[in-house]
């Protein structure tokens, strides 16, 4: 009895996913996905050196993408490898930060567009704040954001903590803004839906800062700056 369509398709996928197959489609599929990973994570690939191919093969042995959007593949690769890479003494200590940085740039550049601001309204303490859909608060142990633009540069990032707001500017490129711990707290609280007043006072408490005039003025300036950058889009 001949195989059903479902059996044939399952068999082809199994062959492609097999760690030790040699079929033409296994070769083509893996080659195509490996190219995409290198395209999305060029610096990570460079700093991993000979380990890159090993890690890509390990990823493809473990799974195939679930997303129909090819650009999601590198996120799956990172998700599967990050914990292991973090504790692997044979890999640079910054490799996870570097991969996260490359993916962050991709995520921010391609995040959904913000709805246009039809009638600008002032922020209110008792209301939440609408943030740009492309804005992210991120923490790194290495100054990956200060690396040269040249993707072929082998310069390693300095071991220096970074607390950043990443956002998309008018040119649709990713920009970053250094944050103080209290500024990051405010943004993270706003991102999870806190009212502005609660976010500002909660951040002060979390950072052990007095809720005085200087702090409040600083918070107001910070939010004004974020508004001018398009990160703050108005009251929620």
């Amino acid at each position: 009895m001949s195989a059903s369509l479902a059996e044939i398709e399952r068999a082809m996928l199994a062959e492609i996913r097999s760690p030790d197959g040699s079929g033409i489609y296994r070769t083509l599929v893996r080659r195509g996905l490996a190219d995409v990973l290198k395209h999305q994570l060029p610096r990570t690939a460079l700093h991993m050196g000979s380990r890159w191919d090993v890690e890509v093969a390990r990823f493809l042995d473990a799974t195939l993408p679930r997303s129909r959007y090819l650009r999601d593949t590198a996120f799956g690769f990172f998700h599967l490898g990050r914990e292991r890479w973090q504790s692997d003494p044979d890999l640079p200590s910054f490799i996870v930060d570097l991969a996260r940085w490359e993916l962050l740039a991709f995520e921010v550049r391609n995040a959904p567009d913000d709805p246009a601001i039809v009638s600008p309204a002032p922020l209110a303490l008792e209301r939440g704040v609408r943030l740009s859909l492309a804005a992210r608060v991120v923490r790194f142990d290495h100054a990956v954001h200060l690396l040269p633009d040249d993707e072929a540069s082998t310069e390693p990032p300095a071991r220096e903590p970074a607390l950043l707001c990443a956002y998309r500017d008018e040119e649709m490129e990713m920009c970053t803004l250094d944050l103080t711990p209290s500024a990051a707290e405010i943004l993270e609280r706003l991102a999870r839906g806190d009212a502005l007043g609660d976010a500002v006072s909660g951040a002060a408490a979390a950072c052990g800062i007095a809720l005085d005039q200087a702090y409040l003025q600083g918070a107001a300036s910070f939010l004004e700056d974020l508004t001018s950058r398009g990160v703050v889009r108005g009251p929620a």
Partner: protein, 287 residues
Amino acid sequence: MHHQSLSGVGLGLRWQILDEVLAALDDPGSLAPVGFFEIAPENYMRRGGYFPAMLARVADRFPILSHGLTMSVGSVDPLDGAYLAELRRFLDRFAIPAHSDHLCFTGTGGFQSHDLLPLPFTREAARHAAARAREVREILGRPFAIENITYYLVPGEREMDEAAFLREVLEQADCGLLLDVNNVLVNSKNHGEYDPISFLSRLPLSRVVSLHVAGHERDLGRLIDTHGAPIADEVYPLVEWVIARTGPLPVVLERDNKIPPLAELLAEARRVREAYDRGISASRVAR
């Protein structure tokens, strides 16, 4: 702009040439003979930022054809309703009146290979793909065409050859054919050196809605449809032969790898246009 009314030569729009295309938008004549662009909607869907914004600029000046990569028409997985709904919104947004994808499956069991995997040439596969093509057309609310792929093996036991399989799917689905003549050539060389014109003669040419041309390379012991090289000389007569029998249609030059500067692609597009014009002349003579 109606898909059916488009004819002449167009270009697959890729990131690598996007800036050059944008720079030429104020002088569209400088992009001659390109009269339209084809895009893969998956590259623009579910994302914001630069690329969709730039596509909108191109679409203001040029008609856009939509050619998908992941419909997986032949897959036994259920059709992805969320994807289809989003695709329809995308096509509506850019006023694209038709859509096409490949006669293949791209994954199963929820996995995506991101490659075009061949279907068995069986009646079951033809019936299944045709039913899904009809369903896709209903959901998208516009014509849906399928493209013949290159295949490097035929899975399962074959009950017919490729031409018969294509014909059966097209007739059962009552849909259009996006005819990739490079794929015809590659398959003819990889599978027994048969005559590509004989193959084309067996297709229902009245169903052809557009043509694809691209380059291939020798690798892994056979010709691979890489879209990474200039169009082979043998492809141009196939364009001419088909156009002579179908009359005016949109012909799309695809290049996805080792993409040269736009000027080089335009020179190649001019060569396609010459073959196209010879085909048009022959079709007039025949009338």
